[in-house]
């Protein structure tokens, strides 16, 4: 029971971060291989606040997210303002991610490569589910507002979006900041679940996992990436019995999704639509 509980908790934590990348990649059409840095910032900012300054967890969570937002401007303003081509942007943010990790390894307050240990455990399963639910609500509200319309327009056709009076830089920057916030909150949850953090946890591998969940979950969807995030965390654990075949099956799942659902599990759709469709059918049959 305790084991399943841990896996689920970790899955939901990952889902919060994936939600962030879904905003940036799935709804704004921008790719990134550096979002692990934002998870790292959120983790360290919140952990330092609770560990050294005994700040209440909920406040540390929000400040962890905001810390990532501040850092997102440092990378976002120069690269997005310069209208860097998207492939160059990916490289820039990748380098930025590594740079953040090196900084974390060399500060006193982060205790360097050794990492921070003895962090209080606040991220229980109910807490994590609650935070994930709130984050889903925030992301959904953003998407259906005019800010979300702008982001989607930029994803669909940046030139046409500009001719609708949309400021490309402001739109991309807002999405990046929003995605950094969710990743930061995810990182804060992670720190207070594992109870210790090290810079080496926030590498490119973590960034790649976020991308995999968003792409497999579906562009233009919130529920798809969230489901895939939890699934990708749970899968290796579920497959522990067939230890030898774990990675093979993991790869197979990705290939199957590519083949049978090329736009991802829920590409451009939400789980709630499924519910609504079912409801409509039931009503029809009833009447």
């Amino acid at each position: 029971m305790g084991y399943i509980n841990s896996v689920l908790t970790l899955g939901c934590i990952q889902a919060v971060s994936v939600l962030g990348l879904a905003l940036f990649t799935g709804f704004t059409g921008q790719f990134s291989l550096g979002h692990a840095a934002f998870i790292g910032i959120g983790a360290y900012v919140s952990a330092i606040l609770t560990f050294y300054y005994h700040v209440p967890f909920i406040l540390a969570l929000i400040l962890g997210g905001l810390g990532s937002v501040v850092v997102s401007f440092i990378i976002g303003v120069p690269t997005l303002k310069a209208k860097l081509r998207s492939d160059y942007f990916v490289i820039a943010i990748m380098g930025f991610g590594e740079a953040v990790r090196v900084v974390l390894e060399n500060l006193n307050i982060t205790q360097g490569a050794r990492g921070l240990a003895g962090i209080e455990k606040y991220s229980t399963l109910p807490v994590v589910i609650l935070v994930l639910a709130v984050c889903c609500w925030l992301a959904r509200s953003f998407i259906v507002s005019r800010y979300g319309w702008r982001a989607i327009a930029v994803r669909e056709d940046p030139i046409a979006a500009e001719m609708m009076g949309i400021n490309l830089f402001a739109t991309k920057m807002l999405s990046l900041a929003g995605s950094a916030f969710f990743c930061g909150v995810g990182g804060a949850l992670l720190a207070h679940f594992l109870m210790y953090i090290q810079p080496v946890m926030f590498t490119q591998v973590q960034s790649t996992q976020l991308v995999a969940a968003v792409v497999a979950g579906g562009i233009g969807s919130i529920s798809g990436p969230v489901i895939m995030a939890i699934f990708f965390i749970a899968l290796p654990e579920m497959l522990r019995i067939a230890n030898m075949w774990r990675l093979v099956i993991y790869g197979l799942v990705l290939i199957l999704i590519m083949v049978f659902r090329p736009s991802g599990l829920m590409g451009y759709h939400e789980l709630t639509e499924l519910g609504k469709g079912l409801f409509r059918r039931l009503k029809k049959e009833g009447s």
Binding site: S145, R146, R150, I152, A153, E156, A160, M164, G165
Partner: protein, 255 residues
């Protein structure tokens, strides 16, 4: 008034536009014609800020807009359509038009993120207004359809509706009749004349279909190799030797 003065744009040695000047007056439908590669689309890209001019000035209502970012140009009251249709293909027809209103809604980021009821209310009010633009171009019955699934002629109409929804003073139409059949062209002609009347719009129209352009533009500018070849009424141009030569080649007299 739109005024281009001595505008120049080069692409790595190719002079797409060189020393071009023209004026378009409020309420006018100005035609812009010229052979393929003459620089017509480049002209639209310069006016709308997609490209920065290498020289010369572009002014609109007395304000210099040359090199201004496209979203600022839109704020000044200029909208356009694209030669190679650019719709938001994954969105519905209605959502394509709704996006034009993004700057006219009043709620701010905090209310949006929290999903306050006022956000939904304001979004709903927009739907009614967006629908009037769909009705204008005859797309009201396709509102829920995905834009990417529209046939060619309707896509062009949706692009026009979306541009009109910005409530521009000047609209730039880049080959709106391309790929349309003769009946669709007749409908399009009516549509252009109707919006021109209703909205007291200034229109600049690029078109290869001479019948269309000759019948709705009292004044036409001819572009060739990035420079102005001629300017005048349809009748004047039909008898202009330079224009005939540019279109039909040196031995046009034998044609």
């Amino acid at each position: 008034m739109l005024e281009l003065n001595n505008v120049t744009k080069t692409f790595g040695g190719i002079k797409a536009v060189s020393g071009f000047s023209m004026k378009a007056h409020p309420g006018e439908i100005l035609g812009l014609i010229g052979p393929n590669g003459a620089g017509k689309t480049t002209m639209f890209n310069l006016i709308t800020g997609v490209y920065k001019p290498d020289g010369g000035t572009i002014s609109f209502d007395g304000e210099n807009i040359g090199g201004m970012a496209p979203h600022h140009v839109v704020e000044k009251g200029i909208a356009r359509t694209f030669q190679n249709i650019r719709l938001f293909n994954k969105l519905t027809v209605l959502d394509n038009v709704k996006i034009a209103f993004h700057n006219k809604l009043h709620y701010q980021l905090p209310s949006a993120v929290l999903g306050l009821p006022l956000v939904g209310r304001q979004n709903k009010e927009i739907i009614k207004e967006a629908m009037t633009y769909l009705e204008l171009v005859g797309l009201q019955d396709h509102a829920k359809r995905v834009a990417g699934s529209l046939p060619y002629g309707l896509s062009r109409r949706l692009e026009i509706a979306r541009a009109l929804a910005l409530k521009p003073k000047l609209i730039l139409l880049d080959e709106p009749a391309a790929g349309m059949n003769p009946e669709e062209i007749v409908d399009l002609k009516e549509l252009i004349c109707m919006v021109h009347r209703e909205f007291a719009l200034m229109i600049v129209l690029i078109e290869h279909r001479m019948d269309l352009i000759m019948s709705i533009c009292p004044r036409i500018v001819v572009l060739n190799f990035g420079t102005k070849l001629a300017e005048g009424t349809p009748e004047e141009l039909q008898n202009n030797e330079e224009v005939l030569k540019a279109y039909l080649g040196e031995d046009y007299k034998n044609a």
